[in-house]
Structures are given as structure tokens and as C-alpha cells.
């Protein structure tokens, strides 16, 4: 009896809740560290970036308008479905070079990280907000609000845990996200889109692009409908020797200034995402404080 031929998955983009191929029709080869061919992934274009920003902007009021409790349930649901695909994620992390133990550890930590952030949705505002004792007969309250659309260059080495660790905190407050997956290790991100599509995340809340950071990041950085720019994933990008992957972080930060876009600069080394995050800093990076006044009187 002939050996069964497995059905291979087509790796696509995730924009507005749909799975388009790149509008450019381009793909790139995803290979293992030893050069083994793994998949053809969609090579997103600048037009895909703009489409993704439109989708994120359209989805943002609805996501921010959902109750904090509801956002927490949705984030928890993502964790549930990552857990259910544990084997698939472990296989992909291993294909990208992790050993079995490390891959399993990373997937477990990913689930736990999602749960951790799910629990923050209806708590961080109590920690970050305040009722302010102003010198006058006024009720005065300050609350964090999402800034809007956050563009994220996902971490390069930590292809799943790193991705979730930068996307989830942006979602907690009600931001929507356009994220560029790890350039050389995009497969866990592609699988995550399949989780997102089936875990009650409204279309457009998370949009995932695969491709070249050098090509996509400038369009994201200078986009006037992008409110936040997370450059964490610039750290550890394939080097300048690899033609076309040279990324100028300073130019990206400078481009963001035109829209007064909030920028989280690239760290000197990729963070150790296995460590529990320090408090709500990453949530608050993508929030503005709103202060409301009202007189007291009879």
C-alpha cells in the first residue's frame, strides 16, 4: 500500500479576519536552520500593510467598546486554542530550530502568558487609573484608554512566545494590531492566525503579515493611521550582509514623528520572554490617560 501523502497547509496572511495571499502574489521560502525547505509563505507588500491598517482601524472602536470582561474572555479563548494545538506549535518551533524540551516549554509559556494578560483586562485600569483629590468641588477621575492601532515588529528569535508577549498587551486595553511576524521563523505566527480566526477575536483586531521587515516597517512607521509603533523585533534581524534586510531603526522612529506616533524602541538584545513581564508596563505603553472633571453641587 502506497504511503499517504500529507496535505500541506498554504501559509497566508491574516487581514480583517480573512486569509488573503499577498495582493502582490509573491511568496518566499521558509527554511529550517539547516536549509531544509519548510513552506512557501506569503511575501506581504506595502499594499498589504495599508490594507491591514484599514482593517485594524475599522475594528478598533468595536474592540475598545467591548467590555473589559469580554476582552478577557476572548484572550482566554485564544489560550485555550493554543493549548489545543500544542503539538502543532511544538512541531513548528522545532522545525525552526528549537529542541523538543525548549519548544514545549515555549508553547506552555505562551498559553500562560495569554492567561496572564486575559486576567489583566478588567484590572489594569484600577491599577493605572485614579480618583484625583483636586482642590475644589469636583469629581475628578483618570482612566487609561487604548491609543488605537498599534503596529508591531514581532521578535525574531522567540517566534511564538515573543509574538504573543508583544501582541497580547496591546489587545488588553482595546487596541487593534498589525504585526509583522518573525522574518525567518513565521510558521508559528501563521498557525496563530488560525487560532485567532476561531477564538472569537473580531476580524481586524489582529492582522498578521509575513515578509521582509525592511520592506514593510517604513510603511507602518510613517502611516498616519498608526498610533503606536513597537520596534522590539528589529533586534536580531538577519544582518545587513543579507541584501535587502538592512533596517534603519532611527529612520523608522523619525518617520513615526510625523504622526506623533508613540514608539517603543528596539532593545539592545531580544528580551527573555520566558520571564514574567514586569507589571502592566507593556499594557500602558499603548494607553493614554483620560481625565474627566465634573462639578459637585446640589
Amino acid at each position: 500500500m502506497a504511503e499517504r501523502i500529507p496535505v500541506l497547509r498554504t501559509a497566508k496572511l491574516f487581514i480583517g479576519g480573512a486569509f488573503p495571499r499577498s495582493e502582490s502574489g509573491r511568496t518566499f521560502e521558509v527554511v529550517a536552520p539547516d536549509g531544509t525547505f519548510l513552506a512557501n509563505a506569503a511575501l506581504a507588500s506595502r499594499k498589504d500593510v495599508r490594507d491591514a491598517v484599514v482593517a485594524a482601524r475599522s475594528a478598533q472602536p468595536g474592540w475598545a467598546g467591548a467590555t473589559a470582561f469580554n476582552r478577557g474572555q476572548v484572550l482566554h479563548r485564544i489560550a485555550e486554542l493554543v493549548e489545543g494545538r500544542r503539538g502543532q506549535f511544538i512541531d513548528e518551533l522545532r522545525a525552526h530550530g528549537a529542541d523538543e524540551h525548549a519548544a514545549a516549554h515555549e508553547v506552555d509559556a505562551t498559553v500562560d502568558r495569554l492567561i496572564w494578560y486575559a486576567g489583566w483586562t478588567d484590572k489594569f485600569a484600577q491599577v493605572a487609573g485614579s480618583v484625583n483629590p483636586v482642590a475644589g468641588p469636583f469629581f475628578n477621575v483618570s482612566v487609561p484608554e487604548p491609543i488605537g492601532v498599534v503596529a508591531i515588529i514581532a521578535p525574531q528569535a522567540s517566534a511564538l512566545l515573543g509574538l504573543v508577549s508583544v501582541v497580547a498587551p496591546a489587545l488588553v486595553a482595546g487596541n487593534t494590531v498589525v504585526v509583522v511576524a518573525s522574518q525567518q521563523r513565521p510558521l508559528p505566527a501563521v498557525s496563530l492566525t488560525e487560532v485567532l480566526a476561531t477564538s472569537d477575536v473580531p476580524g481586524g483586531v489582529v492582522n498578521v503579515l509575513t515578509g521582509q521587515v525592511a520592506e514593510l516597517a517604513p510603511t507602518l512607521a510613517g502611516h498616519l493611521d498608526v498610533d503606536g509603533l513597537d520596534l522590539t523585533g528589529l533586534t536580531g534581524l538577519p544582518g545587513a550582509s543579507d541584501a535587502g534586510t538592512d533596517v534603519d531603526a532611527t529612520a523608522l522612529e523619525a518617520a513615526a514623528a510625523e504622526g506623533v506616533t508613540r514608539v517603543l524602541a528596539a532593545p539592545s538584545v531580544e528580551p527573555d520572554f520566558l520571564r514574567t513581564p514586569r507589571g502592566i508596563e507593556r499594557i500602558m505603553t499603548w494607553c493614554d490617560i483620560k481625565t474627566v472633571w465634573h462639578p459637585k453641587g446640589t
Partner: protein, 502 residues
């Protein structure tokens, strides 16, 4: 301009002149022509100076030093040198320094109020009752933070951000100084402050007060100058954080200049606030709020309620009562205690206001001002209302930063929100209605850092202030504002770290 006397029963009171004495400002003494660096009064390295004038009379008030790159260098070095000892001082001792500054400012409140009014052109009623007391309150509030930083929200023993470069505007010179100096000093940071070129005097007088209060040399440095001085300061590699209040255009320039440096930044930029009046509002209270919203400080307020959105059925009523109220405003000598509207701060600003108002008229809006005589000397612009303003008109879109109100209408709460948010700015907004649920519904949807409901233009040291969108990022005031001057003790890589201040 169509101007006509108004006959709506407005009382025509006569007031005898009641000018505050200007002698207390001691313009003839003090540290004119010099910079305050490392606790010393020094000339600019190249000896350059520039003049500051009274906007109300155009008289020459003083010559002040024009700091160049060499002076910026010296000031940053002085702040850097002072940092280790200042940040190592027990918080309780830093607190006492700040309390002392607050108290001494209160003691010399009259002097600062008169000096501010002379240099800025704003009414003495405002400097006396708002600018100076609020500045003192800001110092007093933050004094109490200096030994309580563990409760700021960054965990135990947070570190000061370091050397702060602060650029402040001319609309609230002393108050903006306090907004930067107070949290910086409380955190254990040191500061180099550049006041605006048209209003340098109260900052220099404050430096004198720091000396009088025995503040360690170099903790507060004041360098006077214009745009080039500020540009050199924010680009100086010895600065750890830039705190800027001013125009959106300059804010973008600064953000661009800091790209890739890892230095921290807070920006408090322009605004085009909507002040939304519903038909059920307490109209007389709303009128007072509208007037305060746009004519306070001659409209030189980044959070001014410059776009009035009125629910259609009460448009005519509101405009009529507004005109009646404006007819009672007294414009003139800023030192007169009865004056409501003072001088425009500079000829350049008057030019911008005039050009935008002319553009409003050219675009078809109807212009109205009360019949008030403008003084012959100085820079003046009458309180002005535009009705029939379209959403796309320049006077509905661009920040005028003057006593000019654009009136638009809406029919539904949804339309009010859409129109209010239809601007790149997001600093403040106002809501006038007696319906509580509608206030909270709107407050959730208005994209503005500060929302005033049934009040306007209120400020308090414990209340975080700052913008969304193109109005900038970071907050000033309260625990949230203090965070911009602190760093967590262990800045591990998984935290957000650097960059933007929440």
C-alpha cells in the same frame, strides 16, 4: 470686520481704573542679561542678548542673555554634575527643598504675578488668582512625592530619569515651569529649563528664588533664548529626557531629532477642543464656561474650547447670550484688576490670529466682536465669534491660539462626537448637559486627554493633564505625570522600558 454695538440689555458699568503697582516687579534690579547655570549668574559665552517687551505697551522691559550652543553645553554639564548628590539626597530632604520653593513662591506671589503680567500681557486677575497660586500648588504637591516614590507605581526605589531638558511656552510661563521643575526635582532629577523668548522674566526670577532658597547649585538651570537655543538643548547628548510644551510642529521636530537616541520624551502640543452644548444644558452656566473656555488668557491656551458645538435648537439662544456676555468683557491694561482680556503676547502671534480670522471670513463664516476700543499701542485682538462655520473651514480645523471662537451645530449625540473628534488634535473637550448618562457616554467617546463636563479649563496638580493623537503623549500632574520622570529600579528587557511615558 462687522462690529456693532449690542443692545441686549447688557449692563454698561463704568469702572474706575484700578491698576496694580508695577514697582513690585523690580524690573530695575535682578539678574537681567544673564543665564542661571550651576547656581551662578553668567553672561552668554558670546555676550549676546535679546530684548523682551511688554505686549500691552510695546515698552522695553529688559535685555536677557541669548544662550548659544556653548551655554547649553555648560548648563547641561552643570545639571549633570549636580545629579549624583541631588538624587542621593534622602527624599524627605528633597521634599523640604521643594516645600521651601513653594512657600517662597507664595510669599513673593504678588511680585511674580505683576512680573508675569508685564512680560506676558495677561490680566493681573489671572496671574494673581491662577498662574502663580497654581504654580505654587504644583511645587507643594510634588514636594510630598519626593519621599514617596515607592508608591509611584514602578516598584520599590525607582530611579530618577536623570538630566531633564525642558522647553516651555509663553502662554503660562511660570506655571509651565512649575509643571516641569516640580516632578523633575521630586524624582531626584536635575533640569535645564528654557523659557519662551517672549516671556523669560519669571523663569529668571524663579532661578533667583532657587538661590534664595539654597537649592544646591546646578539642580535648576535657566537658559534664555529662542528656537535655536531650544533646538540645541533637546539635541544635546547629555540630556536624558526632554519635556516639551508647545506647538505640534515643533513637537514633531523634537520627536524626529530624538529618533534613535533612546532618550525619553513627553510632548504637550496643540489642540482644537470641542465644547459641546446640549439643549438641556444649564445655559447660563454654559455661557460662563464657553467664555472661560476660549477667552481665558486671550485664548492662548492649548486646551482652549475653540470649537463650540451647539445642539441646533439652542444655537440662536446660545449665540445671543454669548454676545451679551462678551459685551461685558473688559479689554485693556493687563495690570488693571478689572481687566478680563489682556494683550496678545506678540506681534507675530497677533499676525497669525489676524490671518486665520480673515481666512474664516473669506471662507464665508459670519464674524462678530463686541464694540470695544482697542488700545493704540501694544498687540490687541478683540474677543471674536464666528457663526455659520463649516467643518472644513480653517478656523474649525487649525489652532488659532487667540480669542476666536468658531460656532458649529449638531443634531444628535453621535454627530457631536463625530464632529468633536474630526481633528488631528486630542487635548481636551467640554460637555454641557444636565443628563448624567449622556456625559459619561460622551466622555468615553471623545478622543481627548482631558474632558470637562459642566465646567472648563480646570487644572490641579493632582490631576493628570495631557493629550491624545497629535496633541502629544505623556501626562503632567498626579501620580501618572510623575512617571515621566522615573525609571524602574530593574529595567529588565521584558518590560516596556524607555521611550514613551504613560
Amino acid at each position: 470686520m462687522s462690529r456693532y454695538p449690542i443692545e441686549l440689555g447688557a449692563p454698561a458699568w463704568d469702572y474706575a481704573p484700578a491698576p496694580e503697582s508695577r514697582a513690585v516687579a523690580r524690573l530695575d534690579v535682578g539678574m537681567q542679561g544673564r543665564l542661571h547655570i550651576g547656581g551662578e549668574w553668567v553672561d552668554a559665552a558670546d555676550g549676546a542678548t535679546f530684548a523682551t517687551h511688554s505686549p500691552a505697551t510695546e515698552e522695553h522691559l529688559a535685555d536677557v542673555a541669548l544662550a548659544g550652543a556653548v551655554d547649553v553645553d555648560r548648563a547641561v554639564a552643570a545639571a549633570r554634575a549636580a545629579l549624583p548628590a541631588w538624587s542621593a539626597l534622602p527624599g524627605a530632604e528633597r521634599a523640604k527643598h521643594l516645600f521651601r520653593l513653594a512657600r517662597m513662591l507664595q510669599e513673593r506671589a504678588r511680585e511674580f504675578a505683576v512680573l508675569e503680567t508685564l512680560d506676558n500681557g495677561k490680566p493681573i486677575r489671572e496671574t494673581r488668582d491662577f498662574d502663580v497660586p497654581t504654580a505654587a500648588a504644583h511645587l507643594f504637591h510634588h514636594a510630598g512625592w519626593a519621599d514617596k516614590l515607592d508608591w509611584a507605581g514602578l516598584g520599590a526605589s525607582p530611579r530618577p530619569v536623570g538630566v531633564v531638558g525642558a522647553i516651555i511656552p509663553w502662554n503660562f510661563p511660570l506655571l509651565m515651569l512649575a509643571w516641569k521643575v516640580a516632578p523633575a526635582l521630586a524624582s531626584g532629577s536635575t533640569i535645564v529649563l528654557k523659557p519662551a523668548e517672549t516671556t523669560p522674566l519669571t523663569a529668571l526670577r524663579f532661578a533667583e528664588l532657587c538661590q534664595q532658597a539654597d537649592l544646591p547649585p546646578g539642580v535648576v538651570n535657566v537658559i534664555t533664548g529662542a528656537g535655536a537655543t531650544g533646538a540645541a538643548l533637546v539635541r544635546h547628548p547629555g540630556i536624558d529626557k526632554v519635556a516639551f510644551t508647545g506647538s505640534t510642529a515643533v513637537g514633531k521636530d523634537i520627536q524626529r531629532a530624538l529618533a534613535g537616541t533612546g532618550r525619553r520624551l513627553t510632548l504637550e502640543l496643540g489642540g482644537k477642543a470641542a465644547n459641546i452644548v446640549f439643549a438641556d444644558a444649564a445655559i447660563d452656566q454654559a455661557i460662563e464656561g464657553i467664555v472661560d473656555g476660549i477667552f481665558f488668557n486671550q485664548g492662548h491656551v492649548c486646551c482652549a474650547g475653540s470649537r463650540l458645538l451647539v445642539e441646533e435648537p439652542v444655537h440662536d439662544l446660545v449665540v445671543e447670550r454669548l454676545k451679551r456676555r462678551l459685551a461685558t468683557l473688559r479689554l485693556g491694561d493687563p495690570l488693571d484688576k478689572n481687566t478680563d482680556v489682556g494683550a496678545i503676547n506678540s506681534a507675530a502671534q497677533l499676525g497669525r490670529i489676524t490671518a486665520l480670522a480673515d481666512a474664516g471670513e473669506a471662507e464665508g463664516a459670519e464674524r462678530w466682536s463686541p464694540d470695544c476700543a482697542l488700545p493704540e499701542r501694544g498687540h490687541w485682538f478683540p474677543p471674536t465669534i464666528f457663526t455659520g462655520v463649516s467643518q472644513s473651514s480653517r478656523i474649525a480645523q487649525e489652532e488659532i491660539f487667540g480669542p476666536v471662537l468658531s460656532v458649529l451645530t449638531f443634531r444628535t449625540p453621535e454627530e457631536a462626537v463625530t464632529k468633536a473628534n474630526n481633528t488631528p488634535y486630542g487635548l481636551s473637550a467640554g460637555i454641557w448637559t444636565e443628563k448624567g448618562s449622556r456625559i459619561l457616554w460622551l466622555a468615553d467617546r471623545l478622543r481627548a486627554g482631558v474632558v470637562w463636563a459642566n465646567t472648563f479649563n480646570r487644572f490641579d496638580p493632582s490631576s493628570p493633564f495631557g493629550g491624545m493623537k497629535d496633541s502629544g503623549f505623556g501626562r503632567e500632574g498626579g501620580r501618572q505625570g510623575l512617571l515621566a520622570y522615573l525609571e524602574a529600579a530593574s529595567n529588565d528587557a521584558t518590560g516596556a522600558g524607555g521611550g514613551i511615558d504613560g
